[in-house]
Homo-oligomer: 273 residues x 3
């Protein structure tokens, strides 16, 4: 993974507008600062378009969506499209309720996304327009593993072709694909699913990466996914016998804060399908 | 305290629907993961019932309640009752405003709770239908101490008889009671009141414990309270001279993450009245 | 800086009503507890006045403001004024959207503030009634530096004369001024801008300081700013090579928790203009 992808974030400090859930919003803000970006959170329909206009990129996360914030998501997305800003969608819990599925589908219809990042259950829901997700975690049955990798990569490429977005399907193995190329990424640690919001954080960071690397969205999204995975690995190495998921959360953000382009190049583990 | 009460949470990974305040919601999500459960937060009336349906238990916390979320609390509670799911109520700040008191009373009228967990001031407010709480902390005058223990236990039993819920009245000494039996729990550390949200976290964890131990709600709630107290003690032992309440918060969640059934059995300190 | 200013907070435990954004609200609650205060968060218009009434002070922060919370801010502010409670305004992102600028201007018109705390871009927006802020961070062009210090102090004094509020303009150098006197404060560390919410946290803590020191608002606000800066310095000294902004956030709150009046006296670095 080219170190410039990370360094461009640190050098350009992309300002990212986040319309996101209140569960993990603080972690999203801190990881954006950690990676070199700058966060602003604003979800009222009265200011959503204006805030998007002063930013470089937009991150829409539908966790804890509500009747008040859904119109803000749509308006901000349309404005960001008009301005040519990258837009990331995190369809948290799509499939878990009709409201989430419908909101995600409605956004897909009205907004062109640069990247869609979710777990395999959420992405399958978007692809089929229906689904049954176990809360905000991926169904075991759907998990991407070595044996199902090429099938999953084909699925991501196909859905990328339909949506025009780069697909980032994250799990034990992550797939980041446009219609032609899929990065299969092996970085990360199982403990990352033991804290809330690693997915949300990754979506926010992905928005910073693609905003700072406008000419290579696929590669930038893949770099963000590798960076998160590498930091999950580094954070794990710091864990003592008394540490649990609260410290691990802090260590991951700390690692993002310390990560260098050189480390990204050296530690990224992926293959291209 | 039987180690199975904890192990059942780790083995069954109960999915808990939380309608909770935005102050401590991240800690609630992380402690649910730490104890072995799985969190989903959703507070819009359009999806509250549906989200509850895919979960095993429901945790309603009225901190930062608002006109938008109150109907979601009620609908989710009624649906959870219809499905036979355990429901926990945390009446944060009941007595501090009419809106909070009225909302808590309304919920008590329309929803059958498995457990009600609050400080003594909040619980007294519910019992009397009125009250004056100093913010979200218990009044000193109300504090449960060794001398007032049997009186407080009798009060909790009586209110349990009226509501049909297990009462978890937490403070320096915690009381967990149904109409016949009261666990008086001596675990915990005074520093726990020096961080925000230990009560909210305990309510969330209690929902996981009672969901994973359907046949013994009283004992499961008592186990959750013991577990939280033991983790407050273990976290305190980790504190260095530079650590304050931010690190203490992390250490408690870390300790929940590491707690074993064996430790719960060995370190729980309680008597039964 | 007199040690009594800190000790009065620890001795009187001021209860502070916060209407604040959901990004940094947990940190605001924990820093209030760390400094010796007690937080309550409530933003529904139905309870805002009542909650303010049981508190000692009010902290209004317009980050993630929305149509539902804006009326609560105004009502709570007016009630606090009627009761003679100190009120702090944090105009987060004023200048970044019309909604934020207008809301801040409307609040200034209807509520008398004891302290207004913001970065220089936000305060300039309030002073001119218009502005262009880069998100929630100060514009580089506006930064207060040694060369522009006396000019900035004169600006703060003048705006204090107009509003009747103590102005706390924070940045590399902080200025805390009433119409006659400006404290120029040199404590702090550049890394403080690398975490989200140090400004929000400072506003919350300032509310506690001025509530506990009713007869000397200027000095109390200056003490809060010094305390935050000193804790930023102490937290920095704790940083290891693996620590990043997540740990730094915790270390700052920890340092506030441990700060003594004596340290405040010894480590405060300021001059009076």
């Amino acid at each position: 993974m080219r170190k410039e992808l990370l360094e461009n974030v640190r050098n350009s400090h992309p300002l990212i507008h986040n319309i996101t859930n209140y569960v993990t919003v603080n972690d999203c803000a801190n990881i954006l600062l950690a990676c070199g970006g700058s966060p602003i959170m604003a979800d009222d329909v009265e200011e959503a378009e204006e805030i998007t206009s002063i930013c470089g990129g937009l991150n829409i996360n539908i966790g804890t969506l509500n009747q008040r914030t859904i119109p803000a998501m749509r308006k901000a997305g349309i404005r960001a499209n008009a301005l040519g800003h990258p837009v990331v969608l995190d369809p948290v819990g799509a499939g878990a309720s009709r409201l989430r599925t419908d909101t995600a589908m409605d956004l897909l219809e009205h907004v062109r996304f640069s990247v869609i990042r979710g777990n395999i259950s959420e992405i399958r829901t978007l692809a089929s327009g229906t689904g049954s997700t176990r809360g905000v975690d991926a169904d075991i049955a759907d998990a991407v593993m070595e044996e199902t990798l090429s099938e999953a990569a084909a699925f991501a490429k196909e859905f990328s072709r339909k949506t025009g977005a780069v697909l980032a399907v994250t799990g034990a193995i992550d797939i980041v694909a446009d219609e032609k190329t899929a990065f299969c990424i092996f970085n990360g640690h199982p403990m990352m699913s033991g804290i809330t919001g690693t997915g949300c954080q990754l979506s926010a960071m992905t928005a910073a990466y693609v905003t700072a690397n406008r000419e290579c969205t696929l590669e930038a999204a893949a770099a963000a996914v590798c960076a998160m995975g590498i930091c999950g690995e580094k954070a794990w190495q710091r864990m003592t016998e008394e540490d649990g998921n609260a410290s691990y959360r802090n260590y991951i953000i700390d690692a993002v804060c310390r990560l260098t382009g050189r480390e990204l190049e050296q530690k990224a583990r992926y293959k291209i399908l």
